[in-house]
């Protein structure tokens, strides 16, 4: 039962506010030199297809809802891997006025990969470590035990409920698309006047 998911985990990648260094290393993992596809790992753009969430860069006010949304849409069991020092703690940009901090401020993180930029070997290592967590979480799910009771695991559902509520409110209030649309409409009206 536990085998198929860990033998072909699909990943989704989001660039928080990274400098691109870690992003291109994540991409480099997928290309012939490192080629993680030989392990069945596929990069998907759809959060509902993904098992492992790779985040590069730290979070800011603007992208918190985006990160939460991706996390909430992923099916259980799921693993979050923070890639690079910025995703871990904010790194060199920690003291910037527009940085909130590491990704763990927003969603529970299972594996932290150090480095600036994180090396492809380290990223692959982190993902493999994440597979262990994924197997544990799946075993727990299979046993009918709530995630929350697995030692060392995060209180998923509670956290998910909270974030879903918060996200729903935020979306209702100021979905970026809606806001931009409104702005565009206003502009058009102005032009018309």
């Amino acid at each position: 039962m536990a085998s198929y998911i860990t033998k072909s985990p699909w990943i989704i990648h989001y660039d928080g506010s990274s400098c691109n260094g870690c992003d291109i290393e994540v991409l480099a993992c997928l290309t012939p030199m490192y080629d993680v596809e030989r392990f069945g790992i596929i990069n998907t753009g759809n959060p509902k297809h993904a098992d492992i969430f790779l985040v590069t860069g730290s979070v800011n006010e603007q992208n918190i809802p985006v990160v939460k949304q991706i996390y909430d849409q992923m099916p259980n069991p799921k693993v979050v891997v923070a890639i690079g020092i910025c995703a871990t703690s904010g790194g060199i940009f920690r003291e910037c006025y527009n940085i909130v901090g590491g990704v763990d401020q927003v969603v529970p993180v299972d594996v932290f990969v150090p480095g600036c930029a994180a090396r492809p070997e380290a990223i692959i290592d982190g993902v493999v470590k994440g597979l262990g967590v994924l197997a544990e979480k799946q075993a727990a799910l299979a046993k009918g035990v709530r995630d929350a009771e697995v030692p060392g695991a995060y209180k998923y559902e509670e956290a998910a409920e909270e974030t879903a509520e918060a996200a729903a409110e935020e979306i209702a209030e100021e979905a970026p698309e809606a806001a931009a649309e409104k702005a565009a409409e206003e502009r058009k009206e102005e032009e018309a006047v």
Binding site: S17, T31, F93, A117, A180, A184
Partner: protein, 359 residues
Amino acid sequence: MAKRTIIPFGPQHPVLPEPIHLDLVIEDERVVEAIPSIGYIHRGLEKLVEKNEWPEMVYVIERVCGICSFGHGWGYCKTIEGNMGIEVPPRAEYLRTIWHELGRIHSHLLWLGLLADAFGFESLFMHTWRLRETILDIFEETTGGRVIFSVCKVGGLRKDVADEKLAEIAETLNGLKKEFRELAGVFLEDVSVKSRLAGVGVLSYDEAAALGTVGPVARGSGLNNDVRLDGHGAYAELGFEPCLETDGDCYARCKVRVREVFQSIDLIGRAIAKMPEGEIAAAVKGNPAGEFVGRMEQPRGEAYYYSKGAGAKFLERIRVRTPTNANIPALVKTLQGCDLADVPILVLTIDPCISCTER
């Protein structure tokens, strides 16, 4: 008249490696207007000058962007060196030129790969990125880092490269040139690739000039504003001539970058052959106390570095204006009237670096 619809594009979108948001106003399948909005990765890193002493600030500026990291480090060092009147030893200028041009090759190969991915040619993407690893290996062998390697410092360099190693690099690059020639043939001659690029997103010379376009986008429209002609580094001594194309479409922009890969390989070869002996760093005393506006030609185009000091350990202001910033108006212009299906390619041909843009 067809009904107008607004399609939001990004920030998280399967074809986007980075978060940018566009509101595409479309009529049927045609884009009428595009309104960009950014701000997803604004960090405010220029403000870190208040917390980092100026010799340390180079590490922050290098992290403006992980792709043209070396170039940003050089740009910062250049503005401080200009500010303090430091003369950099010739060997350091030559080595900086080599690393910067290696960075350009790696950046252009990265971009060509992403372009191949955008028009749906995945094996070409994989092959381009395989070649790119050659450059990253050279970086790793000479500096220890793959993408961010902090080898530049104010006054010169932190590390020298042995002459035997340089000879080895020249040989590796000759091999790369041969392999890349094969791929360049696919990018420039293949009928299906050409059909996606030729005649798409045309930007005329006049438009490019009026919109303040820079870098390969400008050169694809025949506009020559290559900063490498201003006398810095070793370019003048190496006999540098910019690559210009006149068609101004996606194909021309692709061709400029393909030609620049070959050109950079040649430039590095000549720099290695003419490499001067001597020191790699000049002594630095005191603190920057004036103002200086410096420029660099990054893989994506012209970048500005402004520094202002008051004779203290902490600078008063650092300002970086990156090439993508200057190319956004050109992007908005070329998107007008294009097919919705061509949007990813058009966004890519300005080689957007959002991390650079927002800092």
